[in-house]
């Protein structure tokens, strides 16, 4: 890799040993992928995936202390993934004990570290930092140093920014240095499609199921998806973006997708069309039967597969305003049709604090609460990362949550039916 004189000086220790190690890390990272140079981070804000003060990863906070002790902070303000705790979310006494005394003992000190490192503010803990209400929305062509798989794939695919699937810690080092190695999804060549995905479903495929199927097939490849735009309409309106948010999160977590192109819809597919597809691209055909197969093959890891659901999480990634309103309408209709007044399974809807604040200005916040919905900014994934939750029959329509926890996946329609079924409450 060829460094500028300034970058070389940093590597040689001109700004101290710790900064030299930061640059060495970035150089090695780039060399692993054949990067020839560093490019400046041009996005206005960063985003970090590490939002949790988890005792088990204390070495991370020790490393961050080293950075702060050396006077190194992020060159840009940044947002962070959702917090792991929210008192509004139901938990037993034992769970509280495990969360506060064993697992997230470092939460407060870590949040203090993030303030020193440059977090935008204490409300900006969300995986959907790119929503208008949060305001960390990159411009097309911006070079980012982000981590959080669902945010990275959204920024690349829907917003046309450029970001690799960076890991936690690396993303902060890129923001500290102000430059990142140029490879992969930062290059025109790396953004070409290795897969053509032909969607031949009869009805609109479930976003999180379609993303999962594609992720598991293409792994870290770049899919060019045909036949999906007919279900989403011809423009990236709020509903289409919400669909793509969920689709991308599933593709990124069930596989390693960092960028997808949707024919006639996403910016690069609209601008370049099939010129984006590599000559040797493989093809994957998806129909309703294939999606049913994928869903059927998910392992059920509940101790008792026939257990009645005890908790439902909706909103991984965090929900948008339109999704919250849509769920409210669907729940209202389902409850009315079944002669119920409230949900029969404790249900948590998760969204960013700024989105929830906006929701409070509408009738929907009180409506959802009246149905028994708990509105929270929590990260359900972090909430479920403990053995106690393994014993809990948790259901979700998030394929990301299913992948990392013992939560059982159902489609949105199935979830709606379960949480409005009389005999479901335990």
């Amino acid at each position: 890799m060829i460094l500028t004189p300034e970058q070389q000086a940093l590597l040689d220790g001109a700004k101290g040993e710790t900064m030299a190690k930061v640059v060495k890390t970035l150089v090695m990272y780039g060399e692993a992928f054949g990067a020839k140079r560093m490019v400046p981070v041009t996005g206005k804000y960063g985003h970090t995936v590490i939002s949790f003060g988890l005792k088990a990863i204390r070495p991370v906070y020790e490393l961050y202390d080293q950075l702060l002790d050396a006077g190194l902070v992020s060159g840009q303000k940044f947002t962070a993934d959702p917090k792991p705790l929210d008192p509004k979310v139901p938990s037993s006494l034992l769970e509280d004990l495990v969360f506060k005394k064993i697992m997230y003992t470092d939460q407060k000190p870590y949040e203090a570290q993030l303030r020193k490192l440059g977090i935008t503010n204490d409300d900006d803990y969300t995986c959907t930092c790119y929503l208008d209400q949060v305001g960390n929305k990159p411009q097309p062509g911006d070079v980012l140093s982000w981590a959080e798989s669902s945010a990275v794939v959204y920024a690349n695919s829907v917003l046309g920014a450029r970001c690799n699937r960076n890991s936690g810690i690396i993303e902060l080092m890129g923001s500290i240095a102000g430059f990142v190695p140029e490879f992969g999804l930062l290059t025109d060549e790396g953004r070409k499609a290795d897969w053509i995905v032909e969607v031949r479903c009869e009805k609109r495929p479930e976003a999180q199921l379609l993303g999962s199927a594609i992720g598991m097939k293409v792994m870290e490849g770049v899919p060019y998806v045909k036949g999906l735009d007919r279900f989403l309409g011809g423009e990236l309106d709020e509903k289409a973006c919400a669909y793509l948010k969920d689709f991308g999160a599933a593709a990124a977590s069930n596989g390693a997708v960092g960028l997808y192109h949707i024919e006639n819809l996403t910016p690069e597919a609209c601008a370049q069309g099939e010129a984006l597809i590599r000559e040797d691209a493989q093809t994957y055909v998806i129909d309703d039967a294939e999606l049913a197969r994928v869903q059927r093959e998910y392992p059920v890891v509940w101790k008792n597969p026939d257990a009645k659901p005890q908790l439902c999480f909706i909103g991984c990634p965090h929900l948008t305003m339109s999704q919250l309103i849509d769920w409210s309408d669907r729940i209202e209709a389902a409850l009315r049709a079944k002669g119920l007044s409230e949900l029969t399974v404790p249900t948590v809807f998760t969204a960013s604090t700024p989105v929830l604040r906006e929701l409070e200005k509408t009738i929907y916040a009180s409506k959802l609460r009246s149905y028994g919905v708990i509105l929270s900014y929590i990260c359900p994934l972090m909430y479920m990362n403990n053995p106690l939750c393994k014993k809990k029959a948790v259901i979700t329509c998030s394929n990301k949550l299913r992948t990392y926890t013992s939560a059982r996946y159902y489609t949105e329609a199935e979830i709606l039916d379960i949480i409005t079924t009389k005999e479901a409450r335990t």
Partner: protein, 146 residues
């Protein structure tokens, strides 16, 4: 005994028992429970990976195509290295992915752990190596399997 030539990402040598994941290795899902609750054997917690689910990863030669999943992956691998709970080595049949590379490099630059990493060993490598075989990693990226 069969030899495979790969590309060195993190230099080093080791001999260890192979643990083989035929599908993508989900770093977060594999390590999270073990790191969180101090599992000394660092058993794999990824229920979606039948090849290695519940099998100890500590000190094994982890053979895999690539890693998948959350972008906490590199941080998780770094943490495993910092706590001395890392595999003996990581051996990739495919070119290394960005999350695994991050974790391996962070472990190399910022911790005392030794975890050689070799990628591009090829499909033949993953077809040949079986869990329980003995794997030796040479400084030049040669991997011997017997």
């Amino acid at each position: 005994m069969k030899q495979f030539q790969g590309r060195v990402i993190v230099p080093g040598t080791c001999t260890a028992e192979a643990l083989v994941s035929r599908g993508g290795f989900n770093t977060l899902a594999s390590f999270q429970m073990a790191l969180m609750f101090g599992d000394k054997a660092v058993k794999c917690g990824d229920q979606n990976n039948p090849d290695i689910y519940k099998k100890p990863m500590l000190g094994k030669a982890l053979c895999l195509p690539m890693t998948i999943g959350s972008t906490t992956g590199g941080m998780v691998l770094y943490t495993a290295c910092a706590m001395g709970k890392q595999p003996a080595c990581l051996l990739f049949s495919m070119p290394i992915d960005s999350l695994a590379a991050s974790g391996a490099i962070l472990g190399d630059v910022w911790t005392e752990a030794s975890m050689p990493v070799v990628d591009q060993l090829g499909e033949d490598f993953l077809n040949y190596v079986q869990t329980g075989m003995t794997v030796t990693v040479r400084e030049n990226g040669v991997v011997e399997v017997e």
